[in-house]
Symmetry: C2
Subunit: 203 residues, 2 copies
């Protein structure tokens, strides 16, 4: 028919994603998005939608991209549970080590900001976090853990994974991040080796 799109939607969304990822929702203005994407203010509203919509798209983009990598890492859980979870944390650690990407985690950041987010965005954030729990729980059961242990470790691993974002932003070294996940991986292989004994005793 006529003039095609002159900007790359993927590139623009990636730029917006990095902006939100670095500064968070509240500290990112539409002008910031305009600067980051190189798109005009009006183009953002006509092509990407309002701030909330852009943020939701970025959340989905982030979740889809890294969710796939997490799935891949966990795919060998049935055969080698500890190795699978070492790979799982490796996805996060690699992302943190990438100098082109912001530290932290967009999901964790959004979770912290939930009380200030619109109901739409808040609900979506919780949904994405729930997905990760399901993913982890399935992998742990595939690895031979019983239902209770799988639930325990799933929420623990999810929490530790989120904490890497906080600690990296606080200036933790790669060695320190490795130490954080090391304790968890050790506990996991212990539980994996002795599947009969409940690994968590609160007494």
């Amino acid at each position: 028919m006529a003039g095609r799109k002159q900007f790359d939607m993927d590139t623009a969304l990636d730029a917006a994603l990095v902006q939100f990822w670095r500064a968070g929702y509240a500290a990112t203005s539409v002008d910031d998005l305009s600067r980051a994407t190189g798109l005009n203010r009006s183009s953002i509203y006509s092509s990407l939608g309002d701030k909330d919509t852009v943020f939701l798209r970025c959340l989905d983009r982030y979740a889809t991209r890294y969710g796939g990598r997490y799935d891949e890492a966990l795919s060998c859980a049935a055969a080698e549970l500890p190795a699978a979870f070492r790979a799982f944390f490796g996805v996060t650690l690699d992302r943190i080590a990438d100098p082109e990407l912001p530290d932290g985690c967009l999901i964790a950041q959004s979770a912290m900001a939930i009380p200030t987010l619109s109901p739409r965005v808040a609900a979506h954030t919780k949904e994405v976090l729930g997905f990760q729990y399901v993913r982890l729980h399935a992998a742990l059961k595939a690895g031979g853990l019983n239902d209770h242990d799988a639930g325990t470790f799933a929420v623990h691993v999810a929490a530790v994974n989120q904490s890497l974002a906080v600690m990296s932003r606080a200036g933790a070294s790669p060695e320190q991040l490795l130490a954080i996940v090391g304790v968890t991986l050790d506990a996991l292989s212990q539980a994996s080796r002795a599947p009969g004994r409940p690994p968590v005793r609160s007494g």
Copy 2:
């Protein structure tokens, strides 16, 4: 001399603290502080300082208040290491369970927002986080762990403690939060029982 202060500084600072704690730095305006404290806009600037200063005061207030409780919890580390750390996490869990206080953790929130904070506030946030690490490291050594293990568990415990804030904001149940710390406490008592063997093997 003349007219005394007519507002309670402690009450006002507590109100400001809760506001920052709930909404974070970026999502809190000076008007929000005015509403929360009940103080007039001009009174805030004359009595509490500008936004950055008020935030710094709240950070200190938060750190002092809960830091003391953490110290108290860890005081029995030399005698009963696992019990001390169960009490340590208990401080955080009790705070989360308190319906009058916001979920999450002001320090963790500030750490996530570091890229958007002023250098002054960012540096202070890192400082406060460093204090907690030192506190944990000392307790772990007092409990009999060697230097390497103490460093490993100190950063792990600090990370897990921060993660409780994220997970609670994301809607995690008290049982799930208990499961998160349960894995860590189990790994710790394991290491405490076998102090010779390094509890973290990355192979």
